[in-house]
């Protein structure tokens, strides 16, 4: 009896790890490790493997990562949100214009941006759910609106010169190591800043929401099969609206993070960033058809997308444009893997699935 329980327990642990639904996440992690290994072999001697290089990938992409968290949730519900970069730009503009031109406290500006961002997200979610407008068009409109308002505020780039804000932007923690009982900074100097912490915090929050709250499970259910979710009595409308609202919040946080990064606000900031964010989520194993996606995958999606420019910088001879092509190729690779996984699992239970879909 005891032995059996033990066996089952061990089995269930193995099962949990080998669960087929994690294949995509493993693929992302695997490809990331492979590329990292490649980089280490090629450019290890010029510092690719240092902590500094590794942390810089975080620092340069933290703002995208923040938005990728919200985007992952939206994609899991089967939607899409094209307005994220525009809302982020608007946030940056609020802070810059509000503080530099109007002299408002930057944190008040951030609070205002949050209200606007969450409000817009909720509004778009409501339009998608109640008016049945495709998410693509709805959020495209949202993007135009946000960009439009942004350039109406100012078409010029506005610098941010607030002491408190700059202090935040400059705040960092150096990575130390213990040498002969004394803490010294590692060489070359490596640090993490507020953006990285914010990214990690939002990522963990997202993972917690998805994994351990009713809201998170409803998100998966809605994305898996909206009709079923409705029949099972789940609050579909509320879930969808909340997801877009949360994504609006993430967009605002991306804007704050980007403002901390560049210390200015500009109407054209982060142009096309929404696609970077979507790409990160997709190579992280999130399906655009909805229902599947994990924060861990997205995390490595962000890493994977950030390691390419790093590699190109280290190479030194390649034009940065190879980065775009490499990203495209990565996307293609992961779509291919997804396709194979989906076909494989459909084939495995081919006939059964066929019979079910037969009669409606």
């Amino acid at each position: 009896m005891d032995e059996r329980t033990m066996r089952i327990r061990r089995q269930s642990f193995l099962n949990r790890v080998l669960n087929p639904r994690y294949i995509m996440v493993y693929a992302t992690i695997g490809v990331f490790l492979l590329i990292y290994l490649f980089g280490a072999l090629m450019y290890g001697d010029i510092g690719f493997t240092t902590i500094r290089t590794f942390l810089n990938m975080f620092i340069d992409n933290a703002y995208f990562g923040i938005s990728a968290v919200g985007m992952t949730m939206v994609l899991i519900t089967g939607g899409i949100d094209l307005s994220v970069a525009a809302i982020a730009a608007l946030t940056g503009m609020f802070i810059a214009y509000g503080n530099t031109i109007l002299g408002i406290d930057p944190f008040l500006c951030i609070a205002f941006a949050m209200v606007i961002g969450i409000g817009m997200g909720a509004l778009m979610g409501a339009m998608i759910h109640y008016l049945n407008v495709p998410p693509f068009i709805t959020t495209l409109t949202g993007m135009f609106l946000a960009r439009g308002v942004c350039s109406m505020i100012s078409s010029e780039s506005v610098a941010i010169n607030n002491d408190a804000f700059n202090a935040l932007a400059g705040w960092k923690v150096n990575v130390m190591k213990l040498v002969d009982g004394v803490w010294v900074k590692v060489k070359p100097i490596a640090f993490i800043n507020l953006n990285v912490l914010l990214f990690l915090f939002v990522m963990l929050l997202g993972a917690y929401l998805l994994k351990s709250t009713k809201f998170g499970r409803n998100v998966y259910a809605v994305g898996g099969n909206e009709q079923s979710a409705k029949l099972m009595g789940l609050p579909v409308a509320r879930t969808k609206i909340l997801v877009y609202a949360f994504n609006g919040l993430c967009s605002v946080l991306m804007g704050v993070s980007y403002a901390l990064y560049v210390k200015s606000g500009w109407a054209l900031a982060l142009m096309g960033g929404e696609l970077d964010v979507i790409t990160m989520a997709v190579i992280g194993g999130t399906l655009l058809t909805g229902g599947v996606g994990y924060m861990l995958g997205t995390f490595f999606g962000v890493m994977l997308k950030s390691i390419i420019p790093a590699l190109i910088t280290f190479n030194g001879n390649l034009l940065s444009w190879w980065g775009k092509i490499a990203t495209g190729a990565l996307l293609l690779l992961f779509i291919g893997i997804q396709r194979i996984v989906v076909t494989y699992s459909a084939k495995r239970k081919g006939k059964a699935a066929d019979c079910v879909s037969k009669k409606t």
């Binding site: 099962n15 669960n19 087929p20 409803n218 994305g223 099972m232 059964a352 079910v356």
Partner: protein
């Protein structure tokens, strides 16, 4: 067993646009019994259930549940009252784990806002163990077969402390073992005093599991019977009934003695759907396909027409073997096919009558040999007149016509290609009596002109009146072949019910 009625439905009436879906139907359910609800498509079974679960709202009648009169407003409200439904299509989320599917919407929480995963998984395991199912509940649902999925949805329904469990065609995609397992569960539940309503097309299963059987036909109650007091044949007769329409003077097609083989089908099949079907069809002959829904009639037709690709077997046309991999191949072989599901496979709703009628002719002519609008209009007008399609003009969207007229448009689409072989899958279902007779007449007229016809129908009258030969399908195989002229309904019913024929053996 004490006779405790937990549900009484009295004089239920529902009016749909143009059709009385339910007409003064009574139904009742006793705690601890399995009550089967039978009837062909469109008889009103689903409508009755949807009325009970608050999807449709009744125009007249009352529902007494547990001694109180209720008016269910939504599926959710019904569930809360203790009326759970398991549908034929599995209404669960394939991407969630088994355990989650059972509990989502009422997940047990730990410290208020954290999901208690361990608890969920343990409880789900326990619950399924009661059904004698031992699976890893942490796997996503789509990892498991349909049978297991069906059990999971029952587990979900049962765990909501239901007093009434409605099973709407739960077995249509299960294999024998899975059905057996399901029935074990149902017996278990029955013992615990739950009232179970079981809707099915499979008579055998209804007899195995049910205590009582209620038969509906055309929205009316035919009667309710104790399973032990009624024979299968009698039951089938009750379900199918005599057609109420006046019988037109229909003349069975005469097949010339020297008629050549038009179609020769040999052991055509797909492993999971239809087992080796063989038959021949002569020029100008009409073969009827009888059998209950899901018996493999439609699947056979779809294989012949290339909608689904047969895994084995051969098709010969005029004694020449042909390869049919897509509907286009079939069309090029002068075949035509009116599919069973008009909305899904037939009409293209937003296109006009003209475009719908000329679609197949056009697809055979190819993209670069278009018909002018005038040609299309002439073709359309010709068939609008010939078939008496009731439409103000040929430019009306097909989606806005009535069911019968939509069916005629599809018929016109295929007649316009002047086929040698016409496959009609339930062409008369869901349309009014007049249109029905007209479509039958047209079919026979085409036979007289030398077209061979395969006619699939659930209405035996219809088949017996028109067909030269009748092929009876049962359980995804050909169960028998009867001559059309000398057979009586009883003969066919016998084959459908018992699977044995006077002719060949399945």
């Amino acid at each position: 067993m004490p006779d405790k009625r937990i549900l009484e439905m009295k004089g239920i009436e529902i009016q749909f646009p143009g059709v009385k879906a339910l007409d003064k139907v009574d139904f009742d359910l006793i705690a601890g019994e399995v009550h089967a609800l039978l009837g062909e498509n469109g008889a009103g079974k689903s409508t009755l259930i949807k009325c009970l679960t608050g999807v449709h709202h009744m125009d007249a009648g009352k529902i007494i549940y547990d001694g109180k009169e209720i008016t269910p407003t939504s599926p959710q409200a019904a569930i809360n009252m203790g009326i759970s439904t398991v549908f034929q299509e599995i209404n669960l989320c394939q991407n969630l784990t088994v355990a989650e599917n059972i509990f989502v919407g009422r997940l047990p929480m730990k410290r208020r806002h954290r999901i208690d995963w361990k608890g969920i998984n343990n409880r789900a395991s326990e619950l399924l163990k009661r059904f004698n199912i031992h699976i890893d509940v942490t796997r996503p649902l789509d990892y498991f077969s349909t049978g297991i999925q069906q059990m999971v949805s029952i587990a979900r329904a049962v765990d909501i402390k239901a007093k009434i469990l409605i099973l709407d065609e739960p077995t249509s995609s299960l294999d024998e073992n899975e059905v057996e397992r399901l029935f074990d569960v149902v017996r278990e539940l029955k013992k615990s005093g739950m009232g179970i309503i079981f809707i099915t097309h499979f008579l055998d299963q209804a007899f195995v599991i049910s205590d009582r059987l209620t038969v509906l036909r055309n929205g009316r109650l035919v009667g309710d019977f104790y399973a032990r007091n009624i024979s299968k044949i009698e039951l089938v007769r009750q379900m199918i009934g005599k057609d109420m329409e006046q019988i037109f003077a229909l003349k069975r097609p005469t097949v010339a003695a020297d008629a050549t083989n038009m179609l020769d089908v040999e052991s055509l099949g797909i492993a999971s759907k239809v087992a080796d079907v063989s038959f021949t069809l002569k020029t100008g002959e009409l073969i009827g396909f009888a059998g209950l829904l899901g018996s493999g009639r439609t699947e056979t037709a779809e294989m012949i027409f290339g909608v689904t690709r047969a895994e084995h077997g051969t098709i010969k046309i005029h004694d020449r073997e042909v390869r049919i991999h897509s509907p286009l191949d079939a069309i090029n072989q002068q075949m035509a096919f009116c599919p069973e599901d008009r909305k899904r496979d037939g009409i293209i709703g937003d296109l006009s009558v003209r475009e719908n009628i000329s679609l197949v002719v056009q697809s055979r002519r190819g993209i670069f040999n278009p018909m002018s609008i005038k040609e299309q209009a002439e073709l359309a007008d010709q068939y609008i007149q010939l078939l008496g399609i009731a439409t103000p003009d040929a430019e009306k969207k097909v989606g806005e016509l009535s069911g019968g007229n939509q069916q005629k448009v599809i018929l016109a689409r295929w007649m316009a290609t002047q086929p040698d072989l016409l496959i009609l899958d339930e062409p008369t279902r869901g349309i009014d009596v007049g249109a029905k007779a007209e479509i039958q007449r047209l079919m026979l007229k085409m036979c007289a002109e030398g077209v061979s016809v395969i006619f699939i129908s659930s209405e035996l009258d219809e088949i017996l009146r028109c067909a030269n030969r009748v092929i009876v399908m049962r359980d995804r195989c050909k169960a028998g072949e009867l001559p059309g002229e000398s057979s009586r309904q009883e003969d066919i019913l016998h084959v459908i019910a018992e699977g044995t024929a006077t002719g060949e053996e399945a």
